[in-house]
């Protein structure tokens, strides 16, 4: 991703996919595969929430991605309204409505190895989510947010480990959100052998870094990096509605 200082020329992974689609470049194809691989779990949740069985939801999701990539559905995306999240869901709904039936899905998805999807893990996640009052769309959006955050936290943990701060991250991780802010800093300081102020500063930096990584992650899925805030707000509102 490249973001200019003045915002005159900005690209995201998603816009790169859109722009390069016509040229059939390998990098565009890879970018798209990467995006799909990242965000298939929310679709699986959506299908499950729609009442599909585990097997049917798996087949449907696998089938959709095969179809999505082979039929170059992404070329139909409206660049001006470009949230990958919305586009993916709309495409999936269309796929369900117009093109999918169980037999053909099995046929298409059964032989495909385009994407490696960990359905078992997704299913175990699905079973522990509190879903009783949510619509499939909400489940999809929440899982999207959760997937984003999972990636962000993994990246942050990797960064910290590489920098030799693995233990620090393990101890301070729980202070990332407001509800634990300030409580237990003293114990953490003792455990890490640093001052309480150093804990406070480290937590502040971790929180900022989470924010930066999240924005980077989201900017891959929107057509304009300036829309990152809108996307975050939109996800926050979806979560508020619960």
């Amino acid at each position: 991703m490249k973001v200019s200082d003045h915002g005159f020329f900005t690209t995201t992974q998603w816009t790169m996919v859109q722009a390069a689609a016509a040229l059939e470049t390998t990098s565009a194809q890879q970018a798209l595969s990467s995006l799909c691989e990242r965000y298939w779990t929310p679709l699986y949740f959506f299908a499950r929430r729609h009442g599909l069985s585990e097997d049917a939801a798996r087949d449907l999701t696998q089938g959709f991605f095969t179809f999505f990539l082979e039929k170059r559905v992404f070329e139909r995306a409206d660049r001006e309204r470009g949230r990958f999240r919305s586009f993916l869901l709309t495409s999936f709904k269309n796929f369900m409505r117009n093109e999918w039936d169980r037999e053909s899905a099995v046929k298409r998805g059964g032989s495909s190895t385009l994407l490696s999807l960990e359905f078992e893990r997704a299913e175990s996640l699905y079973r522990i989510e509190p879903i009783e009052t949510r619509t499939p769309e909400q489940v999809y959006d929440e899982q999207w947010a959760s997937t984003l955050m999972d990636r962000v936290l993994r990246r942050l943990a990797d960064e910290m480990r590489r920098a030799g701060y693995g233990t620090r991250f393990r101890v301070l991780r729980r202070f990332l959100t407001e509800s634990t802010r300030g409580e237990g800093y003293r114990e953490a300081a003792i455990e890490l052998g640093i001052s309480e102020t150093a804990v406070k500063v480290a937590v502040h930096r971790l929180r900022k870094r989470v924010g930066q990584l999240l924005r980077t992650e989201i900017s891959d899925t929107v057509s304009d990096p300036r829309a990152v805030d809108d996307e975050i707000r939109c996800l926050l509102e979806v979560l508020s509605a619960r």
Binding site: E129, E132, R207, G211, C234, E237, S240
Partner: protein, 812 residues
Amino acid sequence: MNRPQTCKTCGYQTSDSVTEGLCLRCLLSLGLEEPDQEDLVGSLVDHYRIIGTLGMGGMGVVYRAEDVRLNRVVAIKFLTERSLTDQLAQKRFEREARAASQLNHPNICTIHDVGNFEGQPYLVMECIEGSSLRARIREGSLSSQEILKLSVQLLDALEAAHEAGLLHRDIKPSNIFVTSRGDAKILDFGLARPVSAGREEDVETWSDATSGRGVIGTLPYMAPEQFDGSGEDARTDLFSLGCVFYEMATGKAAFVRDTPAATLKSVLDETPEPVGELNPAMPQAFNQVTARMLQKRAERRYESAAEARKDLELQAAYYRQASAMSSWRGRILMLFLVLCVLFLGIHTLNTYFEQREIESVAVLPFESLAGDSAKEYLALSMTDSLIQGLSPIGGLRVASWSSSDLFRDSGAEPVEIGRSMEVDAVIWGSVEQRGDEITVRAALVDVRTGKELSAREGTSSSKEFGNLQNGFILAFAGVLRGSLSSAEADRLVRRTPEDPEAFEVYSRALYLLRKRERTDLAVDYLKQTLELAPGNALANAYLSHAYLMQVAYENHRPRDVMPLARSAAQTALNENPNLPEALLALAMVKLSYDWDFAGAYELMSQSLESDPDLPTGLHWFGLYYAAMGDLETAHAMISRAKSLEPHSPVVITALGRISYYQRDYVEAMNQYRQVFLLEEGFAPGHLAAGLALLQLRQPEEALFQFRQGLQLGPEWSEIFDAFDSGISGRTERLNQALEQIRLESESKYLSPFYMAVLHTVLGRRDEAFEWLDKAIEDRSEYLVYLEVDPVFDPLRSDARFESALELIGLAD
């Protein structure tokens, strides 16, 4: 299987699968770039000083702030810069401002102001402590009694909104707050519209819904007519509120089903399982009221919130009485009440319950019509005696002297002032002296209705002025709480000195004591008072307070002064054994000088029993708990004192001290900053702030605060000099200052406790222990907080510290 957890900050229910216990919503919020958000804390936005962040949502950020003009804490909601491009967000924001600002009701979150700061619109709202109703329902912690109380309040609030011509249209548990006092507050009028609005608004609502932003979540609380296009009116909000009642009582939403379609069908066609079957503890009448509010056809519901409230209030009153009367006598009275209902009819009782009890009153500064500034103390003492006289009334919060004094000379209307102070009623009036005759005129007005409840005039000779004051206390107490028994009346009447000269010096002494200033002069005044009015219990109690303050704030040797404090308090108690001020003074002597913690507890409890709402009582009892290491209770006690006396620098400083003991130095500084806004140069606040800043590793700032605080008198100059040079590393100067202290210690007293603090801060462990020993020998005031005071953390691992705790009686 992981259990869902509810985030303490935003109420979001998250499972700990991916984020492992961290709130997904709060984590997402970290991604919102709000560079100004942190910067705003501490800065001045128009006349609001931002003192902290309360929360952040998709649309905006809410800060805790101090209104420096009115000296009150408020919440400020900013629409984020990026939301400005979001037309829907902006529209909701404007609508909320417009709608809620039309309303003034204790159960609706008050909008105080709207503004624009560097292009960002903001709303100024009352700052509410507590939690959302949604969270309370999820906790399952609401009792039947609380549910009834909240329900009546919510209906009352809706009634006010409807009378003002507004429909809320988004009533749901997450839009209702339960304050820490257990009262309901309706929030978020972002979807409100006039009762008479046409269908265009409905189209807009649907566009909100279809955009997936905001209304989706309210589907289970929407009334059938909102879907079939038959129009909305007050009964629509009543349906939503009925859903809330149902959820409060049963813990489950009335119409939520697995899918939106099923939920919609349920709203339109299904009757929820009766409340009584799910929660047999709820009274039948509540269940009937709820069932009627949940009728599918609007014409079968109550016509108005007022009608539903009246039905429900009867139940709430029944519960109040039932819990108060569990004895045989109570049961007989209860039977009588039930018979009243039967014989007098519901209508009569409805009229009675409409007159809701006044729970808070402010006594505004009386106006002096004497035209002679030397006589202003008469007006001051009239104000003062009413505040003190009414405060022991159970269930009545009397806004403090410091709060109402802020409005002196403001020129605002009394009712307006009362609303600003968030009280139910105000008392104000004038005092006029002609020759030896003093005339007092005073009125009591219900702020909520603007109705005058009582207006009185009385005249006496200057010698009888004390009695005249007592007459006003009893008269207003009677209006506020019905007739008083002679024992109750006796409890309310404070025996202030009757002799006018005695009264004048007494009033001056109290003024100084409240400011924590010139306690030596206050002692002189009180001694003069006692010469003119020998044996006066209040004067003796306050004399004891004055001595206590000399030790706490003015560096007097405890051994010289504490016996005097004890003696004065005991004299007061001989005169009036239940006088809370005297009980407290003796308790403080026992706590900080005798180290008789059990004795202190007993006296403080007695004082609290005698006057549960005396702010000093709560404040000092809080200090007792702090000394005992129970900082949570200490915080709760002093917070309660602050809620009663929100503008008292003394109480806020004490709250800051508790945060400091809790190692929450940032919060401590937030409190101290409030103090400085209220009273620049409040020395105890500056000293406390200096210590907090040392913990925050901000020595320069700490020194500045010490400098401010120690301008009190020359007795502090050497120790300050030592702090200054020690912290800034000027060893030679430090040694000179310490030598000077040693030389001067023979001629003037300097608390060894402060010397112990100084040496601890400078890392001079042995010297610190030497001074600590001397402090123990002298029984220095602050030693009882040794166990919790973070300044001594570097000494804790030393066996000598444990010995010190043992000597004071604080060791485990």
